[in-house]
Subunit: 320 residues, 2 copies
């Protein structure tokens, strides 16, 4: 019998789940649709029956030992999803309490960036590190901060919102209602906004001048930059500069040994890492210079969220 943990990644559109061994080997991945379940109970019944079906398919050689859940606005302390703007269930959903009726196992829930940090620690490039930070560069910017081998949840379960530190007073409007937040600059949506600022401010020719705001993706910007497009190149330079600048502030808080960048934008490689590292070093306090690494995540992007969620289960089992 092999022990496996169930990892569940609740996204706005799909809920993915998978069974992962302690060594990171994935045994089975599947998903259900998140949307179209205004009643959480129907959603949960569907999810549980999908999981049970998958467990049956796996056969008797596997032993499910724990459940980890990554969800937007997930609160680790309470096992709740609280006021998640992209989910159908408003208010506070006592997810873990409800889901334990289906699977009475060690179970924990947190947000996806914290789950990514634990994934990095259990399966990825942060094995053995005690103090590190994971930054997820998706549509927004998420962060998981690890101090002394433990994710920092803060007094309320909501610590680690580096996407919402302020870069510029009265800067870009953020989805959170404030202005100037880091994620309005350093994220897939942030770099798109930077491209449009540059299309306005500069006169360089650019293939990006033919693309509407809603159609433009970070992938297109990467492609254009690799082809030498001056606007796209400048956009990466600015994105990296701002990210590096603010990560230096993060170091001034918890002095991590390494910062791992994760998510689509990091596929641009040096285009994003080079300016980030340059401006990171430039802005670090002397005592931190030349000793903190900025590295790509060691998790595969395709199933990282499920891996991270399952890692939360393994971490929970360590505590017991």
């Amino acid at each position: 019998m092999k022990d496996i943990a169930l990892g569940i990644d609740i996204g706005g559109t799909f809920t993915k789940f998978g069974f992962i061994e302690k060594n990171g080997k994935s045994q089975f991945d599947s998903m259900i649709v998140t949307t179209g379940h205004p009643d959480i109970k129907t959603y949960m019944a569907n999810l549980a029956s999908g999981i049970n079906k998958s467990l049956e398919d796996l056969g008797p050689d596997f032993n499910l030992v724990g459940v980890g859940i990554g969800a937007p606005n997930g609160n680790y302390y309470n096992g709740t999803i609280e006021y998640a703007p992209n989910l159908d269930w408003k208010n506070v959903v006592p997810f873990v309490e409800m889901f334990k009726k289906y699977f009475n196992l060690p179970m924990a829930l947190t947000n996806d960036a914290n789950a990514a940090a634990i994934g990095e620690m259990i399966y990825g490039s942060a094995k053995g590190l005690k103090d590190f930070v994971v930054i997820t560069l998706g549509t927004g910017l998420g962060s998981g901060i690890v101090v002394n081998g433990k994710v920092v949840y803060g007094h309320d379960g909501f610590a680690g919102e580096v996407g919402h530190v302020m870069v510029y007073e009265n800067g870009r409007m953020c989805g959170c209602g404030n202005r100037g937040c880091l994620e309005t600059y350093a994220s897939a949506s942030g770099i798109r906004r930077t491209v449009f600022e540059l299309l306005c401010d500069e006169t360089d020719d650019s293939s990006l001048r033919d693309v509407g705001f809603n159609e433009m993706t970070a992938k297109m910007i990467s492609k254009a930059a690799r082809e030498g497009d001056p606007i796209a190149l400048k956009a990466f330079e600015i994105t990296g500069k701002i990210l590096g600048m603010k990560l230096a502030d993060t170091v001034a808080h918890t002095s991590p040994e390494a910062i791992f960048l994760f998510g689509g934008l990091t596929n641009a490689g040096d285009l994003i890492f080079k300016p980030t590292i340059e401006h990171f070093e430039k802005n670090l306090l002397k005592v931190y210079k030349n000793k903190i690494k900025i590295l790509p995540s060691g998790l595969q992007e395709t199933n990282a969220a499920v891996l991270g969620a399952s890692a939360l289960a393994w971490k929970e089992l360590e505590r017991q």
Copy 2:
């Protein structure tokens, strides 16, 4: 026999020490001069003999159980003082290792702001809190960050340098060599710089127009503000605004339950607390709003540094 801990606060000019009971009761305070000892060995011998003399004076009813040391650039992990700009000893001083030859007791060393945080936890207003931050507003701005009941030292022993997060790109020159650091705005020296900026930008009459830069103190600015001086009032408003803005970023990292402000500038009371709290709340991410307190420190300023250092000793004894 009563157990006492020795607290030592190494400052650029004086080294203060005292013997403190676990309940915070101070039994004896004294000091030696820090300067004029280019050789650390002579300094240490003097310090030890001063301490031994004080111990004798205390009499046989007291039992010294541990030593805590607060020092600029103090590294908790190594017990070292590293490249402290205001001390005579350059490079890395293995303070704890050397001082154990005089007092072979549980001993720990950290910087003064971390010591203040532990002092707040053991004797002050943070008793029972697991997640909080102490900000010391002196000539500079120091910070001690506590997560899960423990000071965050980071991977290298130097975490918690919130005084050096960047407020404005290409902002004011900081002693650290970077520009725009928080402590160039929010500190006793920062508010003085703000007064001079206002004396330049505004045309209001002000008693502060008669004082030279080197002569001006935060105390003078407080006094002028209480008398209704428009420049001084604006300076407090700006200082609080910037401090509140950046403390909101600190919350986005570790989500503390409370932030304690300590040091001379806090004697201005509402003048500093009001704008700080207003702009703090304004800049917080929604999930943190109206639940994180900004409070004055519960430690008396006169011997807080020695108290904090002794608290480090008590904290160390808890670990053993």
